[in-house]
Amino acid sequence: MTKKISLLIGTRKGAFILSSDDGRKEWKLSEPIFLGHIVYHLVSDPRNRKHLVMAAKTGHLGPTVYYSHDYGKTFVESSSPPKFASADNEANGKAVENVFWVSVGHESEPGVWYAGTSPPGLFRSENNGGTWAPVTGFNDHPKYSEWMGQGATPGGQMVHSVNVNPNNKNHMYVGVSVGGVFETVDQGKKWVPLNKGIAADFIPDPNVEYGHDPHCVVVHPAKPERLYQQNHCGIYRLDRPDSTWIRIGDNMPREIGDIGFPIVVHPSNPDMAWVFPMDGTTVWPRTSPDGKPCVYLTKDAGASWIRQDKGLPSSKAYFTVKRQAMVNDFAKPLGLYFGTSQGEVWASDDEGASWKCLVSYLPEIYSLSIMEIDE
């Protein structure tokens, strides 16, 4: 049985599905799905590939979630999307501005999904996105106001990078923009910050316990004790049970720096990871350094980095790639993909060695994810 690969594309103006032939050579773009809706994240369930969950809203309307049970051919709106407990006023409660992130739950819990929101909130569905309940241990944590009180970010402070340990359904990590990384070992009842070793150049205290700005946190699927993090202040690795992150971005070329949004790991080799560097100097342009887009690969867990830019524009190209907008497939050799804020999808079918543009002129891309269809 072969697996046909599709890219699920979330954009500021709707979703699209970009589907490949068997060899990943020819790609076909779908018609827009929910054209005009803001689609932050559209994710396929590896436990049952027919199931998709989409985080969406529009410019006018409040946030919601749609789900599909037919590979994205049709969608149904959640009858109870993520929402905080009702309250009389802002002093007593919170209102979800957008559902920013969706992640599947543990393999042993089919139908379980998690959603991260802005303002920071974590929600759980046990019926493939049909209804959602707050993870109160996180949303109502006694230290919530302290942890989340370091200031907002341009797109709104949000929960992202919801990672369930593949070896333990009760063990989870989440990232919070200008909040930090938080860990639970009891499926969300209790949480602790996990930010030691991370720089927070925007906070005077160099040893602050929380308030850091993770951009993307990944738990390695084959070696869950290994985490990688692309942060506002560098690239990091953490090997549990250690609790101090190591700044592996210090090994990046100085002229490139170690700032960006996404980080992607090789699914079977825990020493391999890719980042998409962006200019973090002066006013933080968040575009490709010197107008020369590039991917950097490490094969030794961050001890050294290799530039990969064959096929990418060689000059005057100012790509921005958001935290959900870079993914890998599971083919051999491994395929990598990123989507830009200019609406282009770029792909490599040789582990980043060379790149080609698959599609242009889409709306601003917020997210990419992989959908495999068994054939």
Binding site: L61, G62, D88, E90
Partner: protein
């Protein structure tokens, strides 16, 4: 009572631009709308019972900020999406 529905919300009302709803306050009207068209209220009203930033609700020609406003049964409710595009 007649309720005017803007285009972004017509996916809930089977593309109808006008629907009927019952209630003696706008709060009750919205609750009845949600009963008829599940999910429509949360797209307009958040968890704090606040009208969302880019939604405006008028009773006849008067914009309301508080949905507890009393109605006499003869008004027209206008739900309007404020300018938020681009």
């Amino acid at each position: 009572m007649l309720v005017k529905i803007p285009s972004p919300l017509r996916s809930y009302t089977k593309n109808q631009s006008e629907v009927q709803a019952n209630g003696s306050t706008v709060t009750e009207i919205l609750a009845d709308l949600d009963k008829q068209y599940p999910g429509i209220r949360f797209r307009m009203i958040d968890e704090l019972n606040a009208i969302r930033q880019h939604i405006k609700i008028y009773v006849d020609h008067t914009q309301i900020k508080d949905t507890d406003v009393q109605l006499n049964g003869q008004e027209v409710i206008y739900i309007i999406c404020a300018l938020s595009g681009g």
